[in-house]
């Protein structure tokens, strides 16, 4: 019966191979090996144009790092992927952003998406300063587990442990989950934010200068996590430090005045050295 219904549905909706015509053309525009493609993306806040005609390819399963001077639009570019700019007042975005989510290709800014919150839930974002909620650690994790994913009661605790282990925080907090998250150190708070995002099992991990507000030891810990996480999922990161960028990037993108100026690939032509990067930045 279900098979008959499936055939009828496919026949009446014009789908081919399980995809609608729109999805078909979108899939063609996003080759295998790419997790995301930005084409002609422009972002303005009121009258101030922040991103001008950006074209960028984000390869799957690798770490892409965006660098550039402050005010060059790196964070805005990162937020484009998760459609977060819309939450800021006066924002207009044009262009096409294709994302590969759950095996399907989605045009993130098309009308077919509807309410973007399901899209955002397929990606995890970590901000520059740790934005833990002033609640207990457990309640922080509950935000994603219970309220976004709506997991049944039995799955909440195991998923929470899994996420906290992935963020290398479980050993430090497993016995004080009901204490206020604000009592954690800066590095621990940032790892909690990471865990909170990882609980979504996201396809993309978006990191906006995640170590900017941390001391060296905590920053190293986070970098270690990023390296290990980068093997299994697509990581897009904004970095404030050139050396950090060179350490972590598989794909290095230089952003200047709202445009993508140059892209280097570690496994292709290779990454530049620090002096060359500084030179580019000063231009």
């Amino acid at each position: 019966m279900r098979a008959v219904r499936g055939v009828l549905h496919r026949a009446t909706s014009g789908r081919v191979n399980g995809r609608s015509p729109a999805e078909q053309s979108a899939a063609c525009a996003l080759p295998e090996g790419l997790a995301a493609r930005l084409a002609g993306v422009r972002v303005a806040f009121g009258t101030r144009q922040v991103l001008h005609d950006v074209h960028l390819d984000v390869p799957s399963g690798m770490t892409t790092v965006l660098i550039g001077r402050s005010g060059s639009g790196k964070s805005t570019l990162l937020r484009v992927l998760q459609r977060l700019n819309e939450c800021l007042p006066g924002c207009t975005t044009t262009g096409r952003v294709l994302l590969r989510l759950d095996g399907r290709v989605v045009d993130a800014y098309s009308g077919a998406v509807g309410d973007p919150s399901w899209l955002r839930a397929r990606m995890g974002m970590v901000f520059q300063s740790p934005d833990v909620l002033p609640l207990s650690i457990r309640r922080n994790m509950d935000m994603t587990l219970r309220h976004v994913l709506c997991l049944p009661e039995t799955e909440v605790a195991p998923r929470m442990e899994e996420a906290l282990r992935e963020a290398a925080l479980w050993d430090e907090v497993h016995d004080r989950l009901d204490e206020n998250a604000l009592g954690l150190s800066g590095g621990q708070q940032q790892r909690l934010c990471l865990a909170r995002a990882l609980a979504l099992r996201p396809a993309f991990l978006l990191l906006d200068e995640p170590t900017a507000s941390l001391d060296i030891a905590s920053a190293r810990a986070i970098e270690e996590r990023i390296t290990s996480l980068g093997h299994t999922r697509t990581v897009v990161m904004v970095s404030h430090g050139l050396r950090q960028a060179l350490r972590l990037a598989d794909n290095l993108v230089l952003v200047d005045a709202g445009r993508v100026v140059r892209v280097w690939n570690r496994h292709g032509a290779g990454l530049p050295d620090v002096a060359e990067l500084e030179h580019h930045l000063e231009d």
């Binding site: 509807g114 309410d115 919150s117 399901w118």
Partner: protein, 290 residues
Amino acid sequence: MLRRWKGGVVTTVCALCAASVALALVAIFAFLCLFALPVFMDGQGFAVIAGDWKPATGSYGVLPMLQASMGVAGIALVLGFPLSLGICCGMNGLAPSGVGQMFRGLVRCLTAVPTVVYGFAALFLLVPLVREAAGRGTGLCWLTASLVLALLVVPTMVLVMEAGMGPTVERVRLTGAAMGLNRGQVMVHMVLPLCWRHMAGAAALGFGRAMGDTLLPLMLAGNAVQSPGSPLESVRTLTAHIALVLATDSRSGTYGSLFVAGCLLLLLNLAVQLVLRVLARSGAQFRGRT
């Protein structure tokens, strides 16, 4: 799927709520103006506002009441403003710090005291005092009402002033101390000049509140219809007038002037709000320049 249109429902509901609030305001103004309009059309015209109240001769003017309202509120402001200023300065450093904190809590409690309780207490405490001090009259007069009104509006004025003074004091305290000024001098020469807009705002708000109060003038001011002369005379404010006329259920000839009185009160309220907005906007420009 369900989640998707839940967001839409929420925003629609909130927008409807906002619309209903705006609608309520428009309705209030509209109804009162509509009912007051016939009074002007009937030929009585501005005699209602400018004339005297003599129902026997068919003159339903509310001028004495208007004068009384302004007088009562004015004296209340004159008495209450210095008190509020003193409390505010005290809370912000001129008094020992423990006392200041205590006052903050106390003032917040005072805003909760019902008006009618003030009136009731004043009736049995203040009125005999005033009667004896004046040596004549019943003690129910302009002065009594203003005194208690002042006490009523002080907490509100203090809270508004404090909202402006607190942050300003924080900003300039260190600067002033570094220049060698003591606390009193910092207050007088630095804080007060910077906060004058908040002061003016508090005064406007206090005046508006005093104008709009009904119970205290009704219970304490005597309710005689006459132009206010000495503070020891009995007067009737606009608010008390409305209450008295409607409560005694007289014939509808007098109702027209009530609606006019209501409109006058609304207009005065509008004026107060505009003054507050002008002050706020000029304050914002000032901040932008520095």
